[in-house]
């Protein structure tokens, strides 16, 4: 009887010990997973635009900032995708973007783009722009992009369950804040105004 009890308790303990770390991983509909997926998508467009700047930027300042943003955000995409792999979650989901955010659905643009994301027409216009016009439009689009994404980082920095996610989100928020002041400064130098939304 005592042996049986000991075995049962041991088995239960081992099972719980095995399960708890699994159950504590962020789930498919968690803030952590939603942030990792949506911020990856949001970042991907920032990388695309930053690579445009690296290639087509008129001033050295814009080219350098483009390089900076492309390299760092591509690294962050890898970081976020690695979380999803570690959590045994799919890198993508069939639910709508920002479903994990409070009131996230209403923040989407009319065609489903996340806040700050440029339209294809805007990107085409950017690619065909030259000189100071390119720099100004790029700063406008990138500024709006950062402002649209920073809210996601804010929510994840405070509400994600995984401390590593909260920490990374907070770092993204802070570094994007620095980019925002740089872009605002650049726009002022170029004599251009930020976009309305």
């Amino acid at each position: 009887m005592g042996v049986l009890a000991a075995v049962l308790l041991l088995v239960t303990g081992v099972a719980i010990g095995y399960l708890v770390p699994n159950l504590r991983k962020p789930g498919d509909d968690s803030i952590d997973a939603g942030f990792a997926r949506d911020m990856s998508t949001h970042h991907a467009q920032a990388v695309e635009m930053a690579m445009f700047a690296f290639r087509l930027g008129d001033s050295e300042h814009v080219r350098t900032l483009g390089y900076d943003i492309a390299a760092s955000q591509q690294w962050q995409i890898g970081q976020m995708q690695t979380w999803l792999v570690e959590w045994h979650l799919s890198p993508t989901t069939s639910t709508r973007p920002m479903a994990w955010m409070p009131d996230g659905q209403n923040a989407l643009q009319s065609d489903g783009r996340m806040p700050g994301m440029a339209s294809k027409a805007e990107l085409d216009k950017l690619k065909s722009s030259k000189g100071k016009n390119f720099d100004a439009l790029w700063c406008q689009l990138m500024l709006r992009h950062h402002l649209g994404g920073i809210h996601m980082a804010e929510v994840a920095a405070t509400k994600a369950s995984d401390p590593e996610v909260r920490d990374a989100a907070e770092k993204m928020r802070v570094s994007q804040q620095y980019d925002i002041s740089q872009l605002t400064e650049l726009l002022k130098d170029l004599g251009a105004q930020p976009l309305s939304s």
């Binding site: 308790l9 239960t12 990856s40 990388v47 695309e48 890198p91």
Partner: protein, 319 residues
């Protein structure tokens, strides 16, 4: 009080000796000696101070002993539990033995309580193990396992390795046997696949390169009703690693492509479309981390590949 506590800090060791030494004095003589003995204790604990003020000549015999014994017992019995040889008094050693015997007697009087408890624990354990097993199984499934579970999907990675290994970068138009293909040599430039909805045919040579990067390419017959095209477009727009375009030569209304995988369905409301996307988008990438955007972005439609950058030529950007 402040004075006594100051003394108490310094006099702890001598005062405990005084207490043990006070026992014979208390049993022997007077209230005065008794009071002096208590005043030593007073410096250690205030509780004793209260008892000393309530003392009568009869109770004074019991009360100093009462605090003295609990103090002595834990101190002497505690080391006795830790190490057997340290037990100096026989009383300390006999008590643990008595405690060991007692539970055995309780067990002899077996009741249904422990049986019910162990049964409950056992059932719980089995439930937990079962749940854990199911979790392990589900979590252990690879994305390819999940894809292969979709009814009607074709997994060429399993059935035609020669096909899926064809992935050279080549200029100019290519011929493909499958319509649309899911693998094959392709153009160095990839079609932009960041949720792009192309309303005219695109070059397969570019689209295959997008599949290599992990994109899911949805194609549909040009005569697919507009509402179904919109249903498909909603699955694509805003989603990275997705693109769609009409494709005239396919045999079914809608065809789904990822590198090495294909699923053909008749209707845009078919739930397997979402299953295919969920299982394969990005997962099917042959080059993890390669983007759907880049410098030489192909966003134009037209079924002839655009050889941007060929022979050091134009990139299509900024020139």
């Amino acid at each position: 009080m402040s004075m006594s506590t100051q003394h108490g800090g310094g006099n702890r060791k001598p005062s405990t000796k005084a207490v043990s030494g006070a026992k014979p004095k208390q049993g022997g003589d007077e209230d005065l000696e008794d009071a002096s003995a208590v005043s030593d204790v007073d410096e250690i604990e205030d509780v004793v101070d209260e008892t000393s003020s309530d003392e009568t000549s009869e109770s004074s015999d019991d009360e100093p002993k009462a605090p003295a014994r609990p103090k002595a017992q834990p101190r002497k019995s505690a080391p006795a539990r830790k190490t057997a040889p340290a037990g100096k008094r026989p009383g300390g050693s006999t008590r643990p033995v008595g405690k060991k015997i007692a539970p055995v007697k309780v067990k002899q009087g077996t009741s249904w309580g422990p049986i019910a408890l162990f049964t409950t624990v056992g059932v719980l354990a089995l439930g937990i193990i079962g749940f854990a097993g199911w979790q392990v199984y589900e979590n252990g499934l690879s994305w390819q396992d999940r894809a292969d579970r979709i009814e009607g999907i074709k997994d060429y990675r399993k059935t035609d390795k020669a096909l899926v290994d064809q992935r050279e970068h080549v200029w100019g138009p290519q011929t493909y046997n499958m319509k649309p293909p899911v693998a094959g040599n392709h153009n160095p430039n990839w079609q932009r696949c960041m949720g792009d909805v192309y309303t005219a045919p695109i070059a397969t040579e570019h689209a295959l390169h997008s599949l290599e990067h992990g994109a899911v390419w949805i194609t549909y017959k040009p005569d697919l009703p507009a509402d179904q095209v919109e249903t498909l477009a909603k699955k694509v727009r805003g989603n990275d690693y997705m693109l769609m375009s009409p494709f005239a030569d396919q045999d079914k209304a809608i065809s789904m492509q990822a590198w090495g995988f294909q699923l053909k369905v008749d209707n845009a409301s078919d739930p397997r479309i979402d299953e295919f996307v969920k299982a394969l988008r990005q997962n099917a990438s042959l080059e993890a981390g390669t983007p759907c955007s880049s410098g030489d972005v192909i966003t134009e439609t037209g079924s002839t590949p655009r050889d941007l950058g060929k022979d050091g030529g134009g990139t299509g950007m900024g020139n």
